[in-house]
Symmetry: C2
Subunit: 210 residues, 2 copies
């Protein structure tokens, strides 16, 4: 398999963790987002959104969107499962993942921040915007799992919720958010730090890290 | 079941279509988003994000995030299926749905547009922002299904892709986007118009419509 990504892309980071947890290896192809390499015609041909990640499998398998890729990996490589079996628990895990992937992350991604600059906002306002999105989003996530014993977001093994949380916490810190306000999220993050699959997927461990 | 929503919320609209397709009825509870009713303490107690929709089922079942709710409905009420059986096709359908739910929609929702106004952008700039997000997002969606015969987004029956597309096209029109540029998306929308489940879920058909 080939994973088209970028070391600092949180969506790519989620998929890297999933591949590692499943014990799968993939050739990592880097597309430098700040240089706009994700909009090169040959990349747009496989990912018309011009976003990372894209996972290319055997034959003509081309998968886009991090959560769709992760659910595909989970459906085709069963161990260890990244979602619980019970439909209600699955829905809770997915809702947490989507609170990050559908509400928080898209509002503070590179493309949106670039567009804010084009509209004339100052660098301080743009960083403030990203911090606002992270603070609001993580604050809701903290409440979503307040009643969960853990230590992971949901139970004693990582799920797609943790795969979304860890990269997002890294983003939040980068934008100056005080993550100490989210003790339950930090507890889940601490649990993931014990796992090589998470450590190996970290941005600073990638060959394209700057 | 009780569906907490708002007539014009696209995420609520997706769930209304899913309920109708599954032949399920729910009591609709409206939360007026422009009046901030979604941030009332009693609503935040069931949905800490302060977003709609929330689906309350029997007992203490509380589900948030439209795509998680729809997948739960699909896993607990099998007919008609809203996702194909084949893992690769499922991933393609989910990726299309997420291109809307994780990339397009969140960037132009009420909360984000309100924050743009707070930062001093003019009404024209705010509408321009929403139109930009819709044009970029739908343009990518058009390419994602360019090779699909249809008539729905994927095949001859509606999937979660169509459930996300129809509300988003309504948004795009509201922001003045010329949707004629997306013939394949319009073909899918036309197919959904033949189905009562879609027609009955339309914003203008809801009791709280203004």
């Amino acid at each position: 398999m080939k994973l088209h990504g970028y070391f600092r892309s949180s969506a790519s980071y989620r998929v890297r963790i999933a591949l590692n947890l499943k014990g799968l290896s993939a050739e990592h192809l880097s597309h430098h987002l700040r240089k706009g390499e994700q909009r090169a015609p040959e990349y747009l041909a496989i990912n018309p959104q011009g976003l990372v990640p894209t996972l290319q499998g055997d034959g003509d398998i081309v998968l886009t969107q991090s959560l769709a890729i992760i659910e595909w990996l989970d459906e085709t490589h069963l161990q260890p499962p990244l979602l619980p079996k019970d439909p209600l628990r699955r829905a809770q895990v997915r809702a947490f993942a989507q609170a990050i992937a559908c509400d928080l992350h898209p509002v503070q991604n590179l493309k949106v921040l670039a567009h804010l600059r084009e509209l004339g906002l100052s660098e301080e306002q743009v960083t403030g915007w990203a911090a606002w999105a992270n603070r609001e989003g993580l604050s809701a996530c903290e409440k979503l799992i307040a009643g969960e014993a853990g230590p992971f977001c949901f139970g004693d093994a990582p799920t797609i919720a943790d795969l979304c949380l860890v990269p997002q916490l890294a983003n939040a810190r980068r934008f100056g958010v005080d993550v100490a306000a989210f003790p339950r999220l930090l507890k889940a993050e601490a649990a993931t730090k014990q796992l090589k699959a998470f450590a190996d997927a970290a941005p600073e461990r990638q060959p394209d890290a700057e």
